[in-house]
Symmetry: C2
Subunit: 723 residues, 2 copies
């Protein structure tokens, strides 16, 4: 990113709101990009002059053509560059000289092809900086702003967009074009569109920031393959989603997909766990497919957000009603229970053969009046938050009439979303176009409607959720931790010893059970004279990572006899290893009994930085992978969500009448961990496994923990080494 720009979004105005445009590389050749760009600008009736630039032509598309930008007599706000890549850098320089303020670089063959492409792209960056210009691209398919003051279609996409309230950003040009096409088919209107290409200057974050302030844009759709700066995105998105929903397809979800993504864009795609955490934390709605993106876009751009999850289903056929019910329940919504009043009003005019529970099946004979009255009554029921209206076309019914009834009924109120499912015929008499144009999302199958309502309901929660706080605990001693880390670095180690981990955690008030290192059986017996049985013996060795794998943990020794046998057994186990373990110490501590095993920890992601983790512990973490991640730093709300969204949360809350564990103690530990990580970026990885949680907060503690840090910088090491 050359110009940061997020501070002053107005620097993007010359690109989205230009007063005049030059097309450098405009072409007479039909079917060429240079021709299509010009054609789209003119046909979409851009509200200002367009100047084609091409030294080999006098006129293109009936417009006077200039041999070079310098020959244009007027001022030029925006230049669209479509020249071959070898001429691109010169064109940018020309723009600078002419005083152009914004550039859209369609031309490809830069960073994405590697080699000297990378170098040429860097060069462009320097020119932009020199002349204080902003640029979209290179390697993109352009920009659209449908606002009637501009009527800007600066793309070479084959169709014109409908005017609407959706801002759509695509990191893939090809997909962007396909999506624009599909949006048109669904009568979905957009406010602005950007294909960001290589994001040399203007980033996704810049665009999102720009749209946050754009009055025309009510819904933000993103197709992303990678994040430029996830931290900036997080800050931006957290604010924006309070006002406008952000819906995102992030591809490269799977490892193989991420590999493909990084070969495509040259950007290092983060592992999906980071993306997931980021979206959860900042309230971005994620969808897996472009199809779902459309399902949601239809609903969000046209309907009010429901206040709850109770869905009424109105249908004229049983089968689709059942499918809609399945879909509704599957996505976590609830079937509304109709009030007695509602049912008695419905009985007044519907056939006795109708089914008056939810779904309300009016049977095939349902007519315009039936749809109008029923929908109006359902929407007036206080137990209904949203409605799905299904219509399967019987031959003898006028679908357009039904569509009008639904439109009329939906307008009897303004707070509850109405989504339609019109199955079967998709022709001029199907009523679908009428519904869509009237702002009613209309789908082919009930699943789409259910998915959309579920997302809206989730967004309602996001909009109204409390803002979390990053808590700073005062009762910590960073000095103690720092001393330990320095010692480890001086020793040239990365792993901390058990004792060191224990002390670092203690410095942040994360308790571990007290222990003693013993050199002999006699020492061990002496330990029990001060402490209580049962006790545990553990091996401590730099050569042992998973103690229990090598028989290095002996638990639940209840008396002296068991301790003696246990001690001997432990030494035997270690002597039997191949090669036998020699460099070790033995730790003794009181046994912690009962409690629920958790794993709390941190791992480092190259894109997202430190990720804090919380999961069900023990071997279950490996098998069932019931873990949640959040990007550092975490708020109190994050800590709560990452714990409460565990699949096994019931286990922690207590089953079969047993007391639940003190969840607040666990949340506090997560936040203390987050603070420790923030204080010491040197920490590379750490986990407490298990962290034992109890109903009594005083008993909650980490039984075992590991931590590794970055090695010291060479000079520092040397400095210390020679002192």
């Amino acid at each position: 990113m050359v110009n940061k720009g997020s501070e002053d979004a107005s620097t993007l105005d010359p690109i989205f709101r230009p007063r005049s445009i030059a097309v450098i590389g405009a072409s007479r050749k039909k079917g060429s990009i240079g021709r299509n760009i010009l054609h789209n600008l003119i046909e979409f009736e851009f509200n200002g002059p367009v100047f084609p630039i091409n030294p080999q032509a006098n006129v293109i598309h009936s417009i006077k053509c200039y041999p070079s930008l310098q020959d244009v007599p007027d001022e030029v706000d925006l230049a669209i560059i479509v020249v071959p890549k070898s001429l691109a850098n010169k064109a940018v320089e020309d723009c600078g000289k002419k005083g152009v303020k914004g550039i859209i670089m369609i031309t490809a063959g830069f960073k994405e092809v590697g080699g000297d492409g990378l170098e040429r792209e860097r060069e462009i960056g320097k020119i932009l900086k020199k002349y204080q210009m902003r640029m979209v691209g290179p390697n993109c398919m352009g920009v659209i702003n449908t606002h009637p003051d501009f009527n800007l279609d600066a793309t070479f996409a084959p169709s014109f967009p409908a005017v609407g309230n959706i801002g759509f950003l695509s990191q893939s040009g090809a997909l962007g074009a396909a999506i624009l096409e599909h949006a048109n088919e669904l009568n979905l209107g957009i406010s602005q569109f950007v294909s960001v290409g290589n994001k040399l200057d203007i980033s996704g974050n810049d665009i999102v920031h720009y749209w946050a302030q754009d009055e025309q844009t009510k819904v933000i759709l993103l197709y992303l393959e990678s994040f430029g700066n996830p931290r900036v995105f997080t800050q931006l998105a957290r604010e924006i989603v309070k006002k406008k929903p952000i819906i995102c397809v992030k591809s490269g979800r799977t490892r193989a997909g991420a590999k493909a993504a990084s070969s495509h864009t040259g950007a290092l795609a983060g592992m999906d766990v980071g993306t997931h955490a980021l979206f959860e934390q900042c309230g971005v709605l994620r969808v897996n497919t472009v199809e779902e993106l459309f399902d949601l876009a239809q609903a969000f751009s046209r309907q009010p957000i429901p206040k709850g999850k109770r869905v009424a289903i109105l249908t004229n056929a049983g089968g689709p009603g059942i499918m809609a019910t399945d879909a509704t329940v599957s996505v976590g919504l609830e079937m509304a229970k109709f009030s007695k009043d509602t049912v008695s009003k419905l009985r007044e005019f519907l056939s006795t053969e109708a089914s008056f529970s939810n779904p309300l099946d009016m049977i095939a004979s349902a007519n315009e009046e039936g749809y109008f009255k029923s929908l109006k009554i359902l929407l007036a029921d206080e137990g209904v938050d949203a409605a799905i209206v299904i219509f399967v076309h019987p031959v003898y019914i006028d679908a357009i009439g039904i569509a009008s009834s639904i439109i009329k009924a939906s307008k009897t109120q303004k707070k509850k979303p109405v989504l339609c499912v019109f199955m079967g015929r998709k022709n001029e008499a199907s009523g679908i176009e009428e519904l869509q144009k009237a702002g009613l999302p209309t789908y082919l199958y009930p699943e789409s409607a259910a998915i959309a309502i579920a997302a809206m309901e989730k967004y309602h929660k996001i909009k109204t959720r409390k803002k979390g706080k990053v808590v700073t605990f005062k009762d910590v001693s960073p000095e103690t931790a720092e001393k330990i880390f320095k010692k480890v670095q001086r020793d040239g180690r990365e792993m901390l010893t058990d004792l060191e981990v224990n002390r670092v955690l203690a410095a942040y008030n994360i308790p571990m059970p007290p222990f003693t290192l013993v050199k002999s059986l006699e020492d061990a017996v002496r330990f029990t004279e001060q402490k209580n049985y049962p006790v545990v013996l553990k091996v401590i060795s730099p050569d042992v990572v998973h103690k229990s794998d090598v028989g290095g943990v002996i638990v639940d020794l209840r008396d002296e006899a068991e301790l003696v046998r246990g001690y001997m057994k432990l030494r035997e186990n270690l002597a039997k290893l191949d090669p036998p373990l020699e460099d070790y110490e033995i730790l003794i501590q009181e046994m912690v009994k009962g409690g629920k095993e958790l794993i709390l920890g941190m791992t480092y992601d190259p894109s997202f930085g430190p990720l804090i983790m919380c999961g069900l512990g023990g071997i279950y973490v490996e098998i069932l992978k019931d873990v949640n991640f959040r990007i550092h730093p975490i708020t109190d709300l994050d800590a709560k969500e990452m714990l409460e969204n565990l699949k096994g949360i019931k286990l922690l809350k207590g089953v079969r009448g047993e007391k639940g564990v003190d969840l607040k103690a666990v949340m506090e530990t997560l936040q203390r961990l987050s603070q420790l990580i923030g204080d010491f970026p040197v920490i590379k990885e750490m986990d407490m496994n298990p962290f034992m949680a109890f109903a009594d907060r005083k008993k909650c503690m980490a039984l075992d923990a590991r931590m590794s840090i970055q090695p010291a910088e060479i000079e520092e090491l040397t400095g210390k080494g020679t002192s």
Copy 2:
């Protein structure tokens, strides 16, 4: 079901292959069902005479009309009844008298409306039986057979079907019509179609059986809301799927959906777990939505089944390639690794800017030659089992030419499926229709293609999987079990005591640890003189279902002192209950240590009969619900699958170098349980929780088990009681 008929499928011929047809209730009124049925028969050019019957008309649709069936001078094979419900029974009787062999009853208002509708439907059943006629319906939308010898469209659906190889059965008339419409849009051809309606005579099983023998039908699609006879379906489907795939949408997946389904059809829908088990056992491919049904139908009806899961992706745009990769990996398929030979062949002609790993991104400049050569080379690679070809339409490329190249390349071999994704424009120049007509499934987004290949690959495994056997163990003693059950019934109980369960299981060679019931602490101490510490104490009481909930289990007592304290603690716990537990005994047994907890059991489903269950045990079964069900009786293969498909199977196979448990011992126990259930249908419910599994098969046993049986029939009880 009046006539069982599955034995002799040819009795359905008069319905699907009639030589002449009467339409009873044919109407002149445009838009009416009676008119549309006649219109469809004529316009689809049925290969025989059609006789309209209506006392109020002389001619309908230019065809001579008869006042009654009896007035028709020729023989009539098939009668389609469209009269008002009050005249329907008379019409059926008329058919019988005329010697009609098959009836399609469109008329509604029978079982589905309850009350006297139920009675009128029963009456029709009797008439059918009397005259040996077969009938589809009532309350259905008809039948189609596109075979050119018949050209039968006996529905009132608004469009005509394309000729093809798909048999499609719908339990919902409305949905059936919508699906036929959609199939047409996708250029999907059908062989036969049935809307089964209320299934008074001809059931879904009859139709499936009929299609198994129909040469035209290669793929069977089902939309079901309930099962008439799941056991017959299981037997049929197991055989048929070896030859033809069966793909099914079963709605009523959720509890709320099932409730809606049963109010709709009057049939008792099974809980979804039974449906899931049934489909897994007999190899039916289940999809959740009609959309998926189409995704699969396109692929199965037109492409070969792949031999493996390695997918090659060919694209002209990066973004869609990544999305396809995500989708491929998400559904459990693998990304193919191209051979060196493949890559070097591709390098010969593709742009150096292309990406030569998988996905193969030919970039936007890819032309017809590029698509043809690349696809041909990928299909020839031995490491590729299937291909997804993506095309995003750049403005300057002729999509129809690309489509032709793909068609040509796909024909260079016959064993690997090729599925296309054409994004964006969907107009006459998009090439999509050409591809679909050439038999290449073509989708709008990559996810559909991935889902379809995954289903095909699953079907490959189903087709080639070994046939399981229901094993009968000889070393069992049903006599012992019978005696115990009779005693329980005589006592007027349903729950067996611990001791009784222990003996029943022992009679089927399912071991439990030996135990003794003790009346005093002295008895308990005496037990330990014969056996080894540690021991366990448990309460046995008809008033206690979950022993540990009431503090009724004390484990791991290692010596006499601990036993004494444990015994006292147990009695204390029970005395503290509110009200104090009085009616109980105390059981003592050796403690079983280590092992992995499983839960094995049986529950009774009203539709499917006994379901055998296997899951991860302990409290995890309640929280994580990692359980699998199969319908009784289970084969050895079923036992294997239900164990190996557990999410936590790794836990049982051993993690971190520990030995896995003896899975075969668990499988055998499941099969012994199945045999026990089969021998005694009186068993209502049972579970072994936990069943402890060890590496050593001799140590595998049920630690705790519960079993309940049906009460005896009144007369039997009395009989026994007075004897």
